[in-house]
Symmetry: C2
Subunit: 235 residues, 2 copies
DNA sequence: AAATTTGTATGTTATATAACATAGTTTTAT
DNA sequence: ATAAAACTATGTTATATAACATACAAATTT
């Protein structure tokens, strides 16, 4: 196993997905441990693609992935940024539909694949597990609706500011408590904020001029969090 | 009980919510029948408002309601149009959050209120019920994401055309197989399509000129469904 | 190391749509 | 019945943002 540059000490296991593992009985835990596979992905790998059929529950044990939908005229829209220990691709699984979005790795990731049959069996015996998925769905749906309104109604500055706040909530800061702990291209930032890449670059630059951010390549420091939130709030 | 002008013959009961009632055991059915209330609403009534705390599961037994979020600058956005026998307000219930949207009656409606405790008890004993909610959530989340992309990326004509197609899917046609079986103000149509009222009126007029629609007040006839779908698809 | 590709930066122009204005029409309230 | 309010219609103007263009920088490939 290669040495890690970050401070994650050990290889993650499916035990690191608490909202799945922790609510199981000992017997169920054993069943899960015996019936899942671990897959490692490197940056830019595609985990699944729009139109494919889900085969099981995917749990992000480590890493960062983006989930995006192909837009009307080839302009992608990032609908979700996931982090460990999130479930991914489970909407299509439970809806019994094809994936309506694709999933691409942003940072080297470890994924646990629990076959559909296995997860359904667990849900039959454990009501708390179903409840956990219901909770996940309810909160994702809330977020999706909130975003629909803001992405359609806020102006560019508000949208980008909001996206940065959301990224901060999801990934947090590095040790300096300023640097966003996710490193996206301007294009990804644009696709997450519903704007063109040019406008993401431009707006980022004006935030730097206004001393709200400091930007160096993909490294974004939030210097004035209050102002950033205010810009986001006012639209 | 007043005579009905439409062909719904009888007062609905909670037995008319199949995805809830039909999956229960006899014992559970009795428990549900004994532990819910029926509320009648008239047009323009508010069922619940953004910020309120849900107290139970609401099932729309009859009628039509709109669910909308207050936008950034007082511009409402209709995020869902519901019809019997839909669940409403259940996202906030299961997320254990305040409502993030408001619900207003479009057509006289009958709603069954199942106290939170009761629905949770039923879910504990009946895994199929949880599964039904998971399915509901998964399909709503899919729709929400699809709409986020189209409302942000399609042009006005495409957005309005899509909204009309969606309304057709939800409410269907009247007996003539042409007239949309829901009668919305231009403002509601606009708020459902992410545009100003003026632009909804204007675009509706151009669809009439193009013989795609026939419009008389709030009565909308879809004359050329293929073209309408094409306009929606091309954005 | 050179060449190619990909990403970033910034200026200019075009355009879709909001904002505003006015008026006619229908519905609701007094 | 009349007044008031809400809704619909259409024309004009303003503006936010996309589209396009060019250049430079960084990363990747040969």
């Amino acid at each position: 196993m290669p040495a890690k540059k970050n401070n994650t000490p050990v290889e993650p296991t499916i035990k690191d997905i608490p909202k799945l593992y922790n609510i199981l009985t000992d017997e169920e835990k054993e069943y899960l441990l015996d019936n899942h596979t671990t897959i490692h992905y490197k940056k830019n790998d595609i985990i699944y693609q729009e139109g494919e059929k889900p085969t099981g529950l995917l749990c992000l044990g480590e890493g960062k992935v983006k989930i995006f939908k192909e837009g009307v005229s080839r302009r992608d829209q990032i609908i979700r940024m996931a982090t460990a220990p999130d479930f991914i691709g489970y909407r299509a699984l439970f809806a019994e539909e094809m994936h309506i979005a694709s999933s691409e790795v942003i940072e080297p990731s470890t994924i646990f694949h629990v076959p559909k049959k296995v997860i359904y069996n667990l849900m039959k015996t454990n009501p708390a597990l179903s409840m956990a998925f219901i909770k996940s769905f309810a909160s994702e749906l809330g977020f999706a609706r909130y975003r629909t309104v803001t992405l359609t109604q806020k102006h560019i500055r508000g949208r980008l500011a909001e996206s940065l706040c959301v990224l901060k909530d999801i990934y947090g800061f590095e040790e300096d408590q300023q640097t966003l702990a996710v490193y996206l291209s301007r294009e990804d930032l644009a696709n997450f904020s519903n704007m063109t890449t040019s406008n993401a670059i431009r707006t980022l630059s004006s935030f730097v001029n206004e001393k709200v951010l400091a930007v160096n390549g993909r490294v974004i420091k939030i210097l004035d969090s209050d102002t950033l939130h205010r810009i986001s709030r006012l639209g």
